[in-house]
């Protein structure tokens, strides 16, 4: 039993538990916080896999930006005070079946797979300069287009949420 493996299992366990809390917690705030935990464990995995930069970005983007955004919205709507109506049990069951089924087939497919080949390990791939070269080299077009993506997301957000002038007067 090697140290990495132990760490893996600890992280995995934590991740799964926090994920479960996320999707089950009555109070949205709790689920958000547990989601943060989950993301941290994932970042930890990145570190483990020697993708430090990615780990950082992950923490910054998700924990730093996205989750905060969520939290902000939840607070704004004070959803934590209005309790969410629970779905019927039968429905929850159906959901479980769906998710479970998916997991099942997925794992089953994994079980019978045997053509994953190990390339010679290269510790440099996670390094920031390699990333940079690839990102701004081969993947230049998607990278630039991402800006368009974000741009339209921005426009969209503004378009949808900007208060009407009349409303301000009122």
């Amino acid at each position: 039993m090697e140290i990495t493996e132990i760490i893996f299992y600890i992280l995995a366990f934590a991740g799964v538990v926090s994920a479960l809390v996320t999707v089950t917690a009555k109070n949205p705030v709790y689920s958000i916080l547990s989601l943060v935990v989950c993301f941290f464990t994932i970042s930890a995995h990145y570190v483990l896999m020697n993708a430090q930069f990615l780990a950082m970005v992950n923490i910054i983007v998700y924990a730093g930006a996205i989750i905060v955004l969520f939290l902000f919205v939840v607070m704004m709507m004070n959803l934590n005070e209005i309790p969410e109506m629970a779905k019927k049990l039968a429905w929850k069951l159906a959901a479980a079946v769906g998710a479970g089924g998916l997991l099942l087939v997925f794992v089953a497919s994994l079980k019978v797979t045997d053509d994953l080949i190990q390339a010679t390990p290269d510790e440099s791939i996670g390094m920031i300069h390699t990333l940079g070269q690839v990102l701004l080299g081969d993947f230049l077009v998607p990278f630039i287009m991402t800006s368009i993506l974000l741009n339209s997301a921005m426009i969209g957000a503004v378009l949808l949420t900007k208060r009407e002038n009349k409303l301000q007067k009122a």
């Binding site: 429905w91 959901a95 998710a99 998916l102 099942l104 087939v105 089953a108 497919s109 019978v112």
Partner: protein, 634 residues
């Protein structure tokens, strides 16, 4: 010997007359209309007369080829005219009697608003009748056959304001159509097996045994069905009495003299075919005699003068078929001719009476008319004598010949024949006595304008009376050791099959004649006793009882046909339309539509609007496919 175009003219003239009168008749003066109409009948008569004499002097029969009607593969039909002995006589009969009746009509129909229409129809009839008898093939004959049917439809329903008349016309047409179907199918047999419809070729082929007996039987039987339709034999006779709805001259021309004899003509034409099918001949004989008797019985108790004559026509036709049935084609034809004379005469006479009575046809309202209309009386009497078979009037000879032939075949037929002719004599004289003798029983104003008919009407009566008197001499029985002119003349038409009939020995023949004549006289005297001595007058139709009631009601044949054919047909029609067509067939079609709409509702119900449901559906379907594949791989 006239050239071919003249024969085309024979055909064309009546057509032209028809067209002229139909298109411009309304504008022309009535006299001119009448002149044209009778002219286009007279001229052909004269033309054919010449032909007749040339034939008499042993000239060849004339054949005129008009046009190829159609040629499809091996089947070909040509329009052609054929003027052999038979058709020449028929043409003469048609045009001759036709002409007289045209003359008669000029005065008879003088006050009718549709004068010109009447004459155009009459010409149309003559045209088709001529096609019927002149054409050289069955299809041409069929054309005339249906054509005369049409003309008779038009003329029966001439006064179309009256729906009873229209019904009568429709009935006539449809009943004829039933027969025509038989004719058509018969033609198919002939066409298919002999490869032609031309009489000469057909006979040739038959001579070479183109059709086995079974086929000749069916074919001839079908043709005979056609004949029963046209010549008002059982079972298709009921239209003829109703056909009296038409103007009286029409009844004279179409429903007595010419059209109804088309059936006999047709059988005569195809005598070879019939001779090859003895069973058919038997059937014909039986049907003929049955019709003769039936019609005679019904005739005994009719009180409408035209109805009486109508039934007598039916029964006379029955006798003719009897003759055909015993294979005596010429004899039958002989009776056709004599019958044409005296029956036309009788009808025209009755017409003259009705004319005098102001349209009243009920003999119970007549009586003593001989004082007022002597010529009509005399001629009518002659006619009656002729039809009753009193020598030396024409009817005697023809009827006697028929009975003689029947006797040769089968004594029963003969006996029944005698019975029929006795009844004929009775009811004819019943009419004579009730109409012309005794006191007038009509209303005052009827009595007031009783008068002899004008010359144009009496002239034809006289001519016909003469013919009815002397007509018989064209076929003297051989016991008188005089030549049977008609037989000799028509010899080329009749194709002998097997051995010819031997002649009866003289005594038997005299005996038969005597018996028939005696029978006629007896029944006349019975009539005399009843209607002159006892001066009986038949009561209201309601007063009839028992058999006579049934007879008066024509033994309910019409009612029978209604319940057996007409009404069921209507019910079936309703059923097919309402139940089968609308509900079943269309129902299935509409059901598919309804079903798909229901399916639509079911499908829609999956579109719940619940996002989670949609996602679940997608997830499950992904699971499903994945599972499917993994199982596939395992």
């Amino acid at each position: 010997m006239p050239s071919q175009n003249l024969y085309i003219a024979v055909l064309a003239l009546p057509l032209i007359g028809f067209l002229v009168n139909a298109l411009f008749g309304k504008k022309l003066p009535k006299s001119l209309v009448g002149a044209i109409a009778s002219g286009v009948v007279l001229v052909p008569f004269i033309i054919i007369l010449t032909t007749f004499f040339s034939l008499l002097n042993g000239a060849e029969a004339i054949h005129v080829n008009l046009l190829n009607w159609f040629t499809v593969g091996s089947y070909s039909v040509n329009f052609g005219l054929q003027l052999d002995q038979l058709s020449v006589i028929m043409v003469m009969l048609i045009t001759g009697v036709g002409f007289l009746i045209h003359l008669y009509s000029i005065s008879y129909m003088h006050d009718d608003e549709n004068f010109s229409r009447y004459f155009s129809y009459l010409n149309l009839f003559v045209f088709f009748m001529l096609i019927l008898v002149m054409s050289d093939n069955y299809l041409g004959m069929f054309i005339g056959w249906e054509g005369v049917g049409l003309a008779s439809y038009l003329l029966i329903g001439f006064w179309f304001k009256n729906n009873d008349y229209n019904d009568a016309a429709k009935k006539a047409f449809i009943m004829n159509r039933v027969g025509d179907l038989g004719f058509l199918l018969g033609m198919f047999f002939i066409f298919y097996y002999t490869g032609s419809l031309e009489f000469s070729k057909v006979n040739e082929a038959l001579g070479l045994g183109a059709m086995v007996p079974a086929l000749t039987f069916i074919a001839s039987l079908l043709l005979f069905i056609g004949a029963t339709g046209k010549s008002a034999q059982i079972p298709l006779f009921t239209w003829l009495p109703d056909a009296m709805a038409g103007p009286t001259p029409v009844s004279a021309l179409i429903h007595a003299a010419t059209m109804v004899t088309a059936g006999i003509y047709m059988v005569f034409r195809s005598n070879l075919l019939f001779s090859l099918a003895p069973q058919t001949l038997e059937i014909i004989a039986i049907v003929g005699i049955a019709t003769a008797l039936y019609a005679a019985v019904v005739g005994l108790v009719q009180n409408d003068i035209k109805k009486v004559l109508a039934y007598s026509t039916v029964s006379q036709l029955g006798l003719m078929f009897l003759a055909l049935g015993v294979g005596a084609y010429t004899t039958a034809f002989f009776h056709v001719l004599t019958h044409a004379f005296f029956k036309a005469l009788l009808f025209l006479g009755s017409g003259s009476v009705i004319h005098a009575m102001g349209g009243d046809q009920d003999i119970r309202n007549m009586g003593g008319l001989r004082k007022y209309m002597p010529i009509t009386f005399i001629t009518f009497l002659i006619g009656s004598l002729a039809i009753s078979g009193i020598p030396p009037f024409s009817g005697f000879f023809s009827k006697d010949e028929i009975l003689a032939m029947a006797f040769q075949q089968n004594i029963v037929l003969w006996a029944l024949g005698v019975a029929a002719s006795m009844m004929t004599a009775f009811y004819m004289f019943r009419v004579v006595f009730l109409t012309f003798f005794g006191e007038f029983r009509g209303t005052k104003d009827q009595k007031h304008h009783l008068h002899e008919s004008p010359l144009l009407m009496t002239l034809p009566l006289v001519v016909l009376a003469i013919l009815a008197t002397v007509g018989g001499f064209m076929g003297l029985p051989h016991v008188f050791h005089a030549p049977h002119l008609l037989n000799e003349f028509l010899a080329p038409i009749v194709v002998q099959v097997g051995e010819a009939h031997g002649h009866l020995d003289v005594n038997t023949e005299y005996m038969l004649m005597g018996a028939a004549t005696l029978g006629a006289i007896i029944s006349i005297s019975i009539a005399y006793v009843m209607y002159i001595s006892k001066a009986q007058v038949p009561g209201e139709d309601a007063s009839y009882t028992g058999l006579s009631k049934a007879a008066n009601k024509k033994f309910y044949v019409d009612e029978l046909y209604n319940t057996v054919f007409v009404r069921p047909a209507q019910w079936v029609s309703e059923f097919l339309y309402k139940a089968v067509d609308k509900v079943l067939v269309d129902g299935i079609v509409n059901m598919t539509g309804k079903l798909s709409l229901i399916t639509g509702d079911i499908m829609r119900s999956f579109q719940t609007g619940q996002t989670a449901f949609y996602i679940l559906a997608m997830v499950l379907s992904v699971c499903f496919i994945l599972g499917y594949f993994l199982i596939g791989i395992k």
